[in-house]
């Protein structure tokens, strides 16, 4: 019974924690600009992240190593410095986007300027990291994320033609704006397959002392949690396609995106949109800041655990304190949070091979995972998704920056 509850909690937290600033904004943009046509990108990304999360959990359960610690041990500190720096820079950008997302959620409800809420949002993130435990962060905040199920409710109330929705699961090219289509597809991949998720998931497994007997739980949590989670992203896309696209609204701001729930959910629409954005970003900000501290501490061989009090792992606590402050400064510089989010998500895809391919090597090494090495299919799925996303990003990111169509 205890194991079933643990499994359910794991699935629900993965599922409820799926929505954050990246997935919400990329799905909203995709639906408003291309209707259901980019649903395939969410499905593909969900498959990729489910497979990668399963691998990260398996590595942690069998080797008691996190992803960062295992890469450093296997490849050496010099090699590890490359994925470390890449992931650290991305973490700062994505954390800034998430803190911006919390501030935007408050702005939507209060009408006050975004910049007023950046420091309080960052402070709230820091306080919970300082005072909270891993379980509180993973379960408590993620459970609040169940509010994002409102998008699924909205879809049913809007009565889409399900055959049109299903057609979006097949990759097709648009008749216009090819570069934008590619850029949003890449951003969806980046929003879903974030490098921080791998190390965070593995660090969580180490914190919770997973072992070989948890492999089935790991498989179910990663597969069901990420799979169900992607349905919320798809619901955002479908709602946006049904409400905004017919009116010719292409989402360029959160004020526009926030209008998508109103026709289906009435006066609760705006409140639920803001709550989904705020809670999702808050949860993601906690995970990213924590992951940054995990990565640095594991690379340097320091004490690390969110379950220790700060004086027992002072350097670990200092790292998340500093990174939350730096990310807040990035948003306070006045950069547009939506543009920062989309750019961060696209850059994630460019950085992904640097982080993922060494990780794949470990999952094929019996010294780390014993007889539970990757299957050829598992390797091929990841190489194809990450490789194709990388090549596509190399083309569309410069095109989008240069203003291509």
């Amino acid at each position: 019974m205890k194991n079933v509850l643990k499994l359910l909690l794991g699935v629900v937290t993965s599922f409820a924690g799926f929505i954050e600033v990246g997935s919400l904004s990329t799905s909203a943009q995709a639906g408003s600009a291309f209707g259901f046509q980019l649903l395939w990108a969410i499905a593909l990304a969900a498959m990729g992240v489910a497979v990668l999360a399963e691998m990260a959990g398996r590595l942690a359960a069998l080797s008691r190593h996190t992803v960062a610690a295992a890469i450093r041990e296997h490849f050496g500190v010099h090699f590890y410095s490359v994925p470390f720096v890449a992931e650290a820079l991305l973490d700062v950008l994505v954390l800034a986007s998430e803190i911006g997302g919390i501030a935007i959620a408050v702005r939507l409800l209060t009408g006050t300027a975004l910049l007023w809420w950046v420091l309080p949002a960052a402070l709230l993130v820091w306080v919970l990291l300082w005072r909270g435990t891993f379980g509180m962060i993973e379960n408590g905040v993620s459970l609040l994320g169940l509010v994002s199920l409102c998008f699924v409710v909205a879809v049913f109330r809007l009565h889409p033609h399900w055959s049109d929705v299903a057609h979006g699961l097949l990759p097709t090219l648009p008749t216009h704006h090819h570069a934008r289509y590619g850029f949003i597809a890449v951003s969806i991949l980046g929003a879903t397959i974030s490098p921080y998720l791998l190390n965070f998931y593995a660090s969580g497994a180490v914190e919770e002392k997973w072992s070989e007997k948890d492999l089935v739980t790991n498989r179910l949590v990663s597969g069901l949690g990420m799979g169900f989670g992607s349905t919320i992203s798809m619901a955002v896309l479908v709602t946006s396609a049904l409400v905004l696209r017919p009116r010719g609204i292409a989402v360029e701001s959160y004020e526009q995106a926030a209008l998508m729930l109103t026709p289906a959910l009435g006066r609760w629409g705006l409140v639920l949109f803001a709550a989904s954005l705020g809670v999702g970003c808050f949860g993601a900000a906690l995970e990213i800041a924590l992951n940054f501290a995990y990565t640095v501490a594991q690379a340097a061989g320091w004490n690390w655990s969110e379950d220790l009090v700060p004086r027992q792992d002072a350097r670990f606590s200092l790292v998340y304190t500093v990174v939350v402050g730096v990310a807040a400064l990035v948003i306070l510089s006045g950069i547009d949070p939506l543009r920062l989010t989309l750019l961060s998500m696209a850059l994630t895809v460019i950085v992904l091979p640097i982080v993922v391919f060494p990780f794949l090597v470990l999952l094929n090494d019996e010294a780390y995972v014993g007889p539970h090495t990757n299957t050829r299919v598992g390797n091929a799925v990841i190489v194809l998704i990450v490789g194709a996303g990388f090549l596509m990003a190399l083309v569309v990111v410069p095109l989008q920056i240069l203003g291509g169509q």
Binding site: G35, Q37, R107, L108, L109, T110, G111, P171, T172, L173, P174, T175, H178, A179, G182, L244, R247, G248, I249, A250, E252, S253, E255, Q256, A258, L259, T262, G266, R267, G269, L270, M392, V395, V396, L399, L402, G403, G404, Q405
Partner: protein, 138 residues
């Protein structure tokens, strides 16, 4: 959607490679028109929600301010275009400037909670949007 969807990685690569970067007046106007109509439509949807009491005055005012800023950005993108001398570009820029002014007026009417003034500016904005849709970029 118009036309049948095309499939295949080669088509993707060719389409992406051919997605040119050199601006021409028609495309400059087309981009700005599309952007401006999207902002105008967002303003309509926000005001529709306010009229039906589904959106607060505070949010609607903020949304209209954002829409006006978006319209100003579209107008500025035309103003900075090298082909401003082209009469079609100048006409589109004037129309978008009018839409921006009407959106600002609409925001003020919402703030004063004056439904008649909101309806008047809505009609004027719709007319301006229709002129832009059928105008120089069409």
């Amino acid at each position: 959607m118009t036309g049948g969807p095309r499939r295949g990685p080669a088509a993707v690569a060719i389409a992406l490679a051919l997605s040119g970067c050199a601006p021409d007046p028609r495309r400059t106007i087309g981009d700005a028109t599309e952007g401006a109509l999207s902002w105008a439509s967002s303003a309509h949807l926000a005001v529709e929600g306010w009229t039906d009491r589904r959106l607060s005055t505070r949010f609607t005012r903020a949304a209209l301010e954002r829409c006006q800023r978006g319209l100003e950005e579209e107008r500025a993108s035309l103003a900075s275009a090298p082909d401003l001398a082209d009469a079609r570009v100048a006409t589109a820029a004037r129309e978008i400037a009018e839409m921006s002014a009407l959106t600002a007026a609409r925001g003020e009417a919402v703030e004063k909670e004056d439904p008649d003034a909101v309806a008047r500016s809505a009609a004027a904005l719709s007319a301006s949007a229709a002129r832009l849709r059928e105008g120089p970029g069409a």
